[in-house]
């Protein structure tokens, strides 16, 4: 039976400006493209990746302007469109003052207490 992985993303906005990506959403998409059976759980500050309308445009250093700022909400949508289940921890969302309507469509909500039983559905849990 094929290996099933849950990628947990907790740290947010770590070098996302220099990389123009979140490196874990990126590697999840790349591995999915390579045939991996992989889902993603956003917890802690990373629940903010699901927020609509994030805008990191306009950075300029000297005369160098960033032409492709990260669009993390689009990256989350893209994972969902590729068939990756993207879970978001509901307690972490609420603690950060976020409403359901603040978030992109298609996220699967799980409570903090629901993470333990969710682990049983995966062969390995990779916490990034």
């Amino acid at each position: 039976m094929a290996l099933k992985i849950l990628n947990i993303v907790e740290t947010a906005y770590r070098a996302t400006l220099e990389e123009q990506d979140d490196t874990i959403l990126w590697i999840s998409a790349a591995m999915k493209g390579a045939g991996a059976d992989i889902d993603v759980l956003l917890r802690g500050n990373a629940v903010n990746y699901g927020v609509k309308g994030q805008d990191a445009s306009g950075l300029r250093f000297g005369d160098k302007t960033q032409t492709h700022p990260p669009r993390l909400d689009d990256d989350v949508r893209r994972l969902i469109d590729k068939g990756v289940k993207v879970y978001v921890v509901a307690d972490d969302v609420a603690e950060r003052g976020l409403e359901r309507t603040d978030l992109v469509e298609g996220l699967e909500r799980v409570s903090r207490a629901g993470i333990a039983p969710l682990c049983a559905d995966y062969d390995q849990i990779w916490h990034w």
Binding site: R43, G44, P117, C119, I125, H127
Partner: protein, 108 residues
């Protein structure tokens, strides 16, 4: 019943997320899984009896095996006599044992 090894490298003096990781350990035991928490690096700091140690003792009382990397303890001058109840020193080899035996191993 699956075996889990939860490696905690962070400490609760520095990171709020540590509590959530301890909670995951408790949750897994409640689901009937066999759980070991392995403290390493600054994750061993609350193993010295302190204001932040009770969650570790609680984990041990609730059926989680709580181990602390012996090198990390020695590096920080934490002697065995100062360890909070329920925490035992252990060699890092334990992590490789769990990986080799197919435990679900999660690093935080």
């Amino acid at each position: 019943m699956a075996k889990y090894l939860l490696i905690e490298s962070r400490d609760p003096f520095d990171s709020n997320d540590v509590a959530s990781f301890y909670e995951l350990a408790s949750g897994l035991v409640q689901e009937g899984e066999q759980v070991t928490v392995f403290l390493v690096q600054n994750g061993v700091l609350p193993a010295r009896r302190s204001t932040k140690s009770k969650p570790l003792s609680d984990l041990a009382q609730n059926g989680v095996e709580v181990l602390a990397d012996d090198f990390s303890l020695r590096e920080r001058g934490i002697e065995a006599a100062r360890l909070v109840d329920g925490v035992k020193a252990s060699a890092l080899d334990t992590v490789i044992d769990h990986l080799a035996n197919g435990s679900k191993v999660i690093w935080h």
